[in-house]
Every structure is written in C-alpha cells, then in structure tokens.
C-alpha cells in the first residue's frame, strides 16, 4: 500500500529581496518593504512530503530517524539563524520563498534516497505558503 508522509520542520532566517538587475526604484516597486537594505526575518515552516510503499516489516514509508537526520544535517544546520542572501544557493538568485522552496526540494531530491520526494511546502508566515513538486509531469 502506498502512503504519503509529511514532516514539518521550523527554522528562522533573515533575507532581503533585491535584484541587481533592477534599479533601486524598480527594486522598491517590485519588493516593497522586503527590499529594506538591512533585511528582515521570518520563522519558516517547512513541510517535506515523501511517498512509497509501507514496508510490512516496519509499517513505515521511511524511517523518521533517517529523514530527521538528513534534514537536521543538510538543511537546518545550514539555514537556521542565517542570512539567506549569504548562502551559496542564493549567490545568483533572490531568496524569495519560491526560490527557497525550489532549493530545498533540490537538496532533498539530490541527497535523500530512502523514499520518493513528492513536494516541499513552505509557510513564510501563517498567511503565505508556497509549494514545489519538481517539474516531472507538471
């Protein structure tokens, strides 16, 4: 039987939305107060959904010890209490939550192979959320 398992993680980080390809006026018009040069921060809620057959021996789609360990090491230790603009993922990209969602999807897809990654969902605030499920079949 195939089931989908979703695990939620939290991290806090700062960012500034600014594109070098736009003038200061265009940046302000596009990003508004998110363009504040000093940056600002959020508590991000990350939901990672994986799927697969439920292993009859363990009753699990994937062992949470493995998923938690991967996320702790590859995501939370790198992203939590950091300035996203300074991370290598955003050297050439604006750290919008859209781009953050794609980056996190790619990190999990590349490095975690114990279950099929379905999607990544991020709440930047309780009012904004974003989902990315890769490009296959979309």
């Amino acid at each position: 039987m195939k089931a989908h398992l979703t695990r939620r993680y939290m991290f806090s980080a700062s960012h500034r939305l600014h594109s070098d390809e736009m003038s200061p006026a265009e940046n302000w018009a596009t990003y508004g107060k998110c363009n504040n040069p000093y940056g600002h921060g959020h508590n991000y809620s990350i939901e990672i959904t994986v799927s697969g057959q439920v292993d009859p021996q363990t009753g699990m789609v994937c062992n949470l010890i493995d998923l938690d360990g991967f996320v702790q090491e590859q995501l939370l230790q790198r992203f939590d209490h950091q300035n996203l603009n300074l991370l290598q993922e955003f050297a050439g990209a604006v750290p919008t939550t859209e781009n953050l969602c794609i980056s996190i999807y790619q990190i999990v897809k590349r490095g975690f192979h114990k279950a099929h990654l379905e999607k990544v969902r991020i709440e930047e605030t309780t009012l904004n959320s974003f989902e990315y499920a890769g490009e296959e079949g979309h």
Partner: protein, 136 residues
C-alpha cells in the same frame, strides 16, 4: 465534484516493535518509540469525501451519516485505547501512522453511502501526518 473534509480527534497509546527483529534491531529502528510500556498521542483525523452536489439537498454527503460512521467505526475503536493490545489490526501490524491511516480507510470505505472516500489524513503530532488515498 466537491470535496468535503470532516475532522475528529482521538487519543491513544502505542509502541513500535517487530518480533521478527532482535531487541537491538528494534531499538535501532524504532528508537524511543520501541519502549514496550507504550506512549501516547493526541491524533487528529481528517476524512475527505468527494462527490457531486445533490441538487435537492445541496450536500455532497449527509454529514450526520459521515459523523456517525466515523464515531462508530473509528473513534469508538481507537479513542483512549492501547492500539497494540486492543485494536485487532494492530495485533499483527505495527501501529505506525501509516498503518493507522490505512486501517481507518479500510474501516470507513465500505460503510460510506453516497459519497466516495478520497483521502484519510492522520496527524500524529502537528509536525507529522500521513495521507492515504486507497492506493495499492
């Protein structure tokens, strides 16, 4: 097609253990969930049904009937129980959130009238949930 979701809560205890594995393997695989004395959760269940809106009633499903089935088939059996010892499915299966979602689907699906079961979602905690869509 309209989707309707009804939520319910139940509290139960469980532990994870497979007698086919050694004690060490069980401890390594299941960590603190392997404590044989059990531990508990407040589970949240979301049952989503789908169907066409009945032109006479304006309903996808008779919500009273859905609530009655959920109460009788799921909550009466699982709420305030030790899942491993008191619920037939879990005498032979480990009561992981995955298996709980599948068991709830199997309990509800044959009993629902008019609407079609779409998804069973079980939250073990606010940070962990499983979706089952009846897929093989």
């Amino acid at each position: 097609m309209v989707y309707l979701t009804r939520k319910a809560e139940f509290s139960a205890s469980h532990y994870y253990h497979n007698p086919a594995f050694t004690l060490e393997e069980n401890a390594r695989l299941f960590g603190k969930c392997n404590n044989p004395n059990g531990h508990g959760h407040n589970y949240t269940l979301e049952v989503t049904v789908k169907g066409a809106v009945d032109p006479k009633s304006g309903f996808v499903v008779d919500l009273k009937q859905l609530k009655d089935v959920m109460n009788r088939e799921v909550l009466d059996a699982l709420d305030h129980r030790f899942l491993n010892k008191e619920v037939p499915e879990f005498l032979t299966q480990i009561p992981t959130t995955e298996n709980i979602a599948i068991a709830i689907w199997k309990r509800l699906e044959p009993k629902l009238r008019s609407a079609q079961l779409h998804r069973v979602r079980v939250y073990e905690t606010p940070d962990l949930f499983v979706d089952f869509y009846g897929e093989a």
